[in-house]
Amino acid sequence: MRTLRLLLEKEFRQIFRDKGILPVIFIMPMIQLLIMPLAANFDVKNINLVVVDRDHSTYTQQMVTKIASSGYFHIKGYYNDYAPALHEVEREKADIILEIPAHFETDLVRENKAEVYLAADAINGTKAGLGSAYLNTILGDFNNEIRMKWLPAKAAAAGTIDVTSSNWFNPNMNYRLYMVPGILVLLVTMVGGFISALNIVKEKEIGTIEQINVTPIKKWQFIIGKMIPFWVIGMVDFTLGLLLARFVYGIIPLGSLLLLYGFLSIYLVALLGFGLLISTYSDNQLQAMFVAFFFIMIFMLMSGLFVSVDNMPAWAKMIAKLTPVTHFIDVVRMIVLKGSRFADIKMQFLYEIAFAIVLNGWAIWNYRKTA
């Protein structure tokens, strides 16, 4: 115990004397938390639309006005022909072309049926997909409106199926509500992952590890002595982030804080074990940095922060499940936004405990005092 205390004294002194690393640990993540959720907005707005109007009728006017007033679209131009409209798309001035054929109004009135064409620039897939979907909805609305005007009774009788949906736990589909807890996890992961990955390697580089290896300090004492300070840093970072979420974004965890911190404490052990494992395999800080970067990149992209894990192919789901970050993002969102209880997140708990045991056991096993 005394050895461990001495190791902790040393580690904390070194960390707090390193004037370069302190802002990286405590201030940079908070700045990121202030900037990223504002930018990482998946709502698609400002879709540039060009209209090819071959009909020039009252109905086309009404339809375009309705589209323009939805707030999602900027009408960038009216053309009589398709070619100049396509040219606008090629110049990146427009995202979607709405083509209204000649006799649109006549067809609509006489045959009770008319067609319009949508062409979307799919280079920005999200914008194209969501833009087309919005446009479809708006056109559907428009369609209903004019039918109601013509035949109020008959339309009601026709009984179209109207789907009404409500968004639970995030009623306004506010992306910040969804992103902030995820980004908070990301930041804790980056700070914890990198500092732990670089630390033992640093001792290797400056040669002090050899001096440690020749003392009676036990392997587990050394590893735990490294882990506790980073664990504390992770806890502090998470707490700062949670406070920021509370006061800047108004996000107050619905679930139990005790449960949240309980999960965090195990998650940090798993994450730091991962960093220390990289550390024991690397010969210098550059190597450790690249390896850590490689894995943390995978963790981030597979974690469900940006892309829902449920939409991934089966093999990718497997990988996602095998990274500690995925489960933690899941749990933080569940506890913070839904107020989930222990029973709801039991599986994630088990996963995280398994990660903690395997990664740390591996790190201790791979750290050799005698080579």
Partner: protein
């Protein structure tokens, strides 16, 4: 407790088909100052690392402070001090904090740490520097401090790997005073060096060539044996026979 501090028989370290250390045998008595000489790349550091329990020997036998180098590395580590080629105190800790850390991990109590620390600081004349970061001290001071810290727990043996490399002659002389004091207090000193004047200070010296020990005796006997006027000449005579290129 055996009389011999180090017993070594046919100790070998092989990397692939390269014999870094090739069947070396020697004994070191308790309290002796044993010089371990050899050109760069002759295998000194590898041999020393095996004796300190930092590296597994490939074959042979050796015991350090009575403990087996194959099985009892952790027992060895409790009974030795080690100062490597690379400076290995923590530069971002103060002199005091380094003493406290390294002394503490060898099991010294707070009271002992205080006493030993005061004693050490007074002896090195570093009262003013006690609260300074070790990183800001000149090299010679760092080396003297590193040595003093390496023996703060009064180990049976201290291993010094080129402790005076890059240190000025006056400080080297002071460093050797410290070594003599340690030897007087009963600590066996196992030291590698490239300075032949330092070799003369040793009780006995061995010279490694290409992983083997080609000569082992007192400096006076070696000079006689090689009909040399100085240790320098002895070293040249032996090192010229090396077939390995230096690193």
């Amino acid at each position: 407790m055996s009389e011999k501090a180090i017993v070594c028989k046919d100790l070998t370290k092989r990397f692939g088909d390269f014999f870094a250390v090739n069947h070396i045998s020697f004994d070191v008595d308790q309290g002796e100052i044993f010089g371990f000489l050899g050109a760069n790349g002759a295998g000194k550091t590898t041999a020393m690392r095996m004796l300190c329990g930092l590296s597994y020997p490939t074959s042979g036998e050796a015991s350090v402070a009575g403990y087996n180098v194959f099985k009892q590395q952790e027992d060895i580590k409790r009974n030795i001090g080690y100062m490597s080629q690379k400076f290995s105190l923590y530069e971002s800790l103060t002199v005091r904090e380094n003493i406290r850390f390294y002394g503490g991990v060898y099991g010294l109590s707070d009271k002992q740490l205080k006493e030993k620390g005061d004693e050490l600081i007074t002896k090195l004349g570093m009262e003013k520097e006690a609260k300074m970061m070790v990183g800001s001290l000149p090299l010679g001071w760092k080396q003297k401090l590193a040595f003093s810290v390496a023996i703060i727990h009064q180990p049976r043996i201290v291993f010094l790997d080129e402790p005076t490399g890059g240190v000025d002659p006056v400080t080297r002389r002071q460093f050797w005073d410290l070594i003599y004091d340690a030897a007087d207090s009963g600590i066996t000193v196992f030291v590698t060096t490239h300075y032949m004047d330092e070799a003369e200070y040793c009780n006995r010296i061995s010279v490694m060539v290409d992983g083997r020990i080609d000569a082992l005796d007192t400096p006076a006997n070696l000079k006689q044996q090689f009909e040399a006027a100085s240790m320098n000449e002895v070293f040249y005579a032996l090192a010229r026979t090396a077939k390995r290129s230096a690193d």
